[in-house]
Amino acid sequence: MLELGADEYAKYPFMADAGQYLKDKGFPLAKFGTDPDLKPSVEKAFHRLKVSTEGGIYKSELIDGQASKSYILEIEVFSFLLAIVLIKLTGMHTLTKRFALAEARRAEQHLERDLGKASEKSKIDLAIKIIHDLFGIEVIKRDDFFEIPVADYLKHSIGFHEREWKLINRYVKNGKVLLTPEKTVRLIRKELGTYIGSKIINAPTPPMIPGFENMVNELTSICKKLTPSYTMTTGEYPPCIKHAIEVLEKGENLPHSGRFMLATFLLSKGQSVEDIAPLFKNAPDYNQRITLYQLNHLAGTSGSGTHYSCPSCEKLKTQNLCFAIPECDNIINPIQFGKKRI
């Protein structure tokens, strides 16, 4: 684990071992419920959580990562650790998710600032080391840019759907991708969230701390109000699926990847193997036995039992099977076509 200074813990409090930190500072958890001197830390923790439920990022009292007084740094770390205690006492998964995301975005801002500091080598080195130790990415500073091995870049960017993150839209040279500080940090946002989330999930749940009850109740009721959304669907097929059906109806050859897409799409819509098989009747190489075997394989009723899902829009684009129309509305998988949140 990295050795951090107080100001660094304030910026990246998730790097601290919670129990050890409080112990080192000589504050047993129970004291936070009663000691008026510690009240600001508790109030800050509650505020920090509330901001995260509203989708915001908590603004600390640090100015450019520094504090005017040393106790401010301490409150920063305490409030983070106490927020975790409150989450555990509340026991709401939504709260874990929202807080982890908000804190990840907050840390992201600090990392970005540290990486961008051309004159302070130690700050840059620390940010690079955090990225390396937590996420295993080798980052090398080269002039105003940061170099990341292409393979590492791909592992982390693969879940991003914006086209600017496609490798083709990056500067690639000698096996490395060149990124700005902002993009370097954006690359690990999700993992940062997952890392903070896992710290919360793995933290032990303490018994209720006297003085915390009201906050826990209020957080529980806030979470319950975060209503889940429902979706409805128009039932119309997306253009890629319509195209595949048209090709088959004309008796033309639909490539293997197109057949895979069509079958997995219809299976995911609840159609049976027997419903789907006749669609392939016109294919130039149609063989009923093989078609049924392959459909059963995709449905997971034979073979390894793996249920195959419909490929993503991105993959279909690569396979020249995408015929996007405005109604596709930036969906990432054909099965989302026509679904609307209400």
Binding site: L167, Y171, N174, G175
Partner: protein, 373 residues
């Protein structure tokens, strides 16, 4: 396939594996690879593990396979079912196939065999005898096809070396034995990448998904200074060379691009992928559990060998990949177009009995346009 044709091919293939086992390149980490084979007129047998080349030799002699395959992946347990194999890593492989290059010459050397009435003709849309559209197409690729494939390989190598930092010695090119080439990349940082990441690599190589901003074009107030320079590296450099033609035309072309606007620029980029992108088969590269034809083995679609190309520029598959013997055999050939093997011209044949060397007979029988008489 008829019994006598199978017998002929099996005997010929067996002799090949006996005489030319030295051509087989057993991959490193042999015992971690999955092997598979097919016999004539039969399905695939896979999930086989092999210790060394002696065991492989035995398998070839015992089974006389029509095709032999080996995984690019390494597994802890290559002989177990797929989800129990414990995938470790896989070599990066690209497949460049002449049939995917949309070449003009294809129509001159593609023939069709009707699945309904077995009629062979040069009409590739419908059967000239019974009008059926259920046709099996056979191509006898020409020099132009091979040269066009080589050009794609050279584009690919350039990207692999310059953009991905691959050492040229780690790029191995093989003729597939039929219509294309397999490019293997060893010891790269990509060994452990999964399927989605490899698909992203192919998008890069194929020039798919580029956006105008990458090449300096902004939606609002485009700025001339952000457009790529002629000598830049990577895709920005390749883009400039294709678009500007020469250094001196840069300024004029940029003005045109800006005047035409953002959407037109996007269209230009989409159209460019056909010209400057490498035409690889993305499905092959992204498949990390695939078994590939084993280098040095015979391809039952042609009777030619999948061979390592030491000097790609000079490589002639119809000379260097044909290893079957020259003993004369009598066949009834129905091959309406001419082809060239081992510096000898064959055909056209119109359902006639001919006496030709084994390598040419096997070529046509594999293509299902001749039978043993």
């Amino acid at each position: 396939m008829q019994e006598n044709n199978i017998k002929f091919l099996e005997d010929t293939f067996k002799k090949y594996y006996f005489d030319h086992f030295n051509l087989i390149r057993v991959p490193n980490r042999t015992s971690e690879r999955e092997f598979g084979f097919q016999k004539f007129n039969s399905g695939m047998t896979r999930h086989i593990s092999i210790k060394d080349d002696k065991e492989l030799h035995l398998l070839l002699m015992k089974n006389t396979p029509s095709d032999v395959y080996c995984s690019n992946a390494c597994y802890s347990f290559p002989n177990l079912p797929m989800n129990e194999k414990d995938w470790k890593e896989a070599d990066l492989i690209f497949d460049i196939d002449a049939k995917d290059l949309n070449l003009e010459c294809r129509k001159n050397h593609t023939i069709s065999k009707c699945n309904e009435c077995n009629e062979i003709s040069t009409d590739i849309n419908s059967c000239s005898k019974c009008n059926s559209i259920k046709l099996e197409k056979k191509s006898l690729p020409c020099k132009n096809c091979i040269n066009a494939s080589k050009n794609e390989i050279s584009k690919l190598s350039n990207i692999l070396i310059e953009d991905f930092g691959i050492h040229p010695n780690d790029i191995h090119v093989y003729f597939s034995g039929n219509e294309g080439f397999h490019v293997y990349v060893y010891n790269s940082q990509f060994q452990k990448l999964g399927s989605k990441e490899r698909s992203e690599l192919t998008d890069y190589i194929m020039f798919h998904g580029a956006i105008p901003e990458t090449f300096g074009m902004k939606k609002i107030k485009p700025n001339r200074s952000t457009f790529p320079d002629f000598d830049e590296k990577g895709w920005r450099g390749r883009f400039s060379k294709e678009m500007y033609g020469t250094k001196s035309k840069r300024s004029k072309i940029i003005t045109e691009l800006i005047v035409n606007g953002y959407s037109s620029f996007q269209k230009t980029l989409d159209d460019l992928s056909d010209k400057i992108g490498v035409k690889v088969d993305p499905n092959v590269t992204m498949d990390i559990h695939r078994i590939f034809r084993l280098p040095g083995s015979l391809n039952s679609k042609s009777g030619l060998t999948k061979v390592f190309c030491t000097d790609l520029t000079k490589f002639d598959p119809y000379l260097e990949a044909s290893f079957l013997n020259e003993q004369l055999v009598e066949v009834i050939a129905n091959c309406p177009i001419r082809f060239n093997l081992k510096n000898t011209k064959f055909g056209p044949y119109y359902g006639e009995k001919v006496s030709i060397p084994t390598f040419a007979a096997a070529y046509m029988i594999c293509k299902k346009i001749a039978t043993i008489s």
